[in-house]
């Protein structure tokens, strides 16, 4: 049984649906408050920092939460190879804490800046299209994604633009394929303009990993696309067709949505027999 901590920082608001999304793929999720004792954190096999507005986005989204002792402890567990997923505000926390891209561990090498697409700024809540570029994070977070697969997923952020002012970091992110998930056009081609490129992020990044691939800062909300019933009827692709075909069919509506693939990937790793035996921190619970 793999246990995942869903970190409840004051101001996050997606912890319950994130926990449900983890449970549906066979993981055991527990919502863990940010101020739990130090000893609690090592008990888990993985960590998810969910979306929301930690500390009301005061100073900057993620800035205050990144300084929490809990984030230090999660970083230490990540050092041991445990996976850490930051969703939306959670991604902002990971970037502000210097865990992503983590080229020089601990150093802050990026920002999640306010959205900036031509003639469109500010908060944006809509469905977007994602493609995967294989990289060190593929095994943890995109294991079940087929080559060329386009995954629709909702975004909801005002500060989702991955940005670095360091050309060396930019180059390394590109060379080392740390942009695991990118915003793409519905066809799978490059997102060259709004709305397919919704926020102007560098390299159209929607999700960036660290070099080891076990930490992912992911701006879209997979927990809002984990069940078919969450897919909008008007979505123009196979997922939309499935959703329209499922109207009135409760069983079908409770089937998987496109975002579940990310949680399934995490679960495939955590629940594999080899992971069960070799998981770091296992001894701490026994």
């Amino acid at each position: 049984m793999a246990r995942v901590a869903v970190v409840q920082i004051p101001g996050v608001n997606c912890e319950y649906e994130t926990a449900r999304a983890l449970e549906v793929v066979g993981l055991t999720a527990r919502i863990v408050r940010w101020n739990e004792p130090a000893s609690v954190w090592s008990e888990f096999d993985a960590y998810v920092i969910p979306g929301g507005f930690a500390f009301q986005d005061r100073i900057r989204a993620g800035a205050v939460a990144a300084k929490l002792p809990a984030v230090d402890r999660i970083a230490a567990e990540a050092e041991r190879g445990k996976p850490v997923l930051g969703i939306c505000n959670g991604a902002q926390v990971l970037v502000e804490a210097g865990l992503v891209p983590g080229l020089h561990p601990g150093r802050v090498e990026m920002a999640l800046a306010p959205n900036r697409a031509p003639r469109r700024e500010g908060y944006l809540c809509r469905w977007s299209w994602l493609g995967v570029t294989p990289g060190p994070g593929s095994s943890w977070y995109a294991r079940n994604v087929r080559p060329g697969q386009v995954i629709p997923m909702p975004i909801a952020h005002g500060e989702g633009r991955f940005l670095t002012a360091d050309p060396e970091v930019q180059e390394r992110i590109e060379i080392e394929n740390l942009v695991l998930y990118r915003f793409v056009a519905p066809s799978g081609g490059r997102a060259v303009r709004y709305p397919f490129d919704p926020n102007g992020a560098t390299l159209q990044a929607a999700g960036i990993t660290n070099r080891a691939g076990n930490i992912l800062a992911f701006m879209p909300h997979p927990e809002r696309a984990t069940w078919l019933r969450q897919v909008p009827l008007e979505l123009k692709n196979a997922w939309g067709e499935s959703r329209r075909a499922a109207v009135g069919n409760w069983e079908a509506l409770e089937g998987p949505g496109p975002g579940r693939i990310l949680f399934q990937s995490l679960a495939s790793n955590l629940l594999s027999p080899s992971a069960e035996g070799a998981r770091p921190g296992r001894e701490a619970r026994s």
Partner: protein, 199 residues
Amino acid sequence: MSAVLLVGLKITDLSAWTALETGRRLLEPGHTLSRIAREQLLLFEPEPGGKAETFERTLGEAVRQSNFFVNPNKERYRFLTSSERGESWSPPDSAWGILSRVREDTRDDGLKARLLREHPMPGLGAIRRAKVWWLWSRGPDGTPAAPYFRETLGELRDQRHGLLVNPHAETAMLLHGATPWSRVDRFLIQPAPALRAAA
């Protein structure tokens, strides 16, 4: 010369309060931080070759008599025309400041378009935005120890160093003592320096 509007909260500024609480946890023993305050700065530039006097009167009325820039129930402001602002900008008593701006163009064209729609004023070229954090600090020697506090609370470097400015999205300058407005103007108007050259 440009006109300047500084807007801050007169109710409790929870962002500044959180910055104070978070910042204190980053300090080494012997360093104290007694207060942080925050203001938004808007710089009103004349059109190229023009003078700020051509629009300042209308702009001043818009600031004072409409609620376009300021919600008087919660905010206070200082509006300084190009002649009123003088040669230099001095921090509040005993304070020093960190002025930050986005790395990209600081002009807010959307704000300008809305302003001109509601308050037509020929001669206004651009509105530029920045943010200032005022800090009241003391080092072990009793001085404000601005270099130490800037290092610890200014540009973010890692989990222990930096808080108020993420240098990948923003750039900052120190406001210690009287700072010539011409320097502030240049800081807002010129392209941001490269990350490693920022000072």
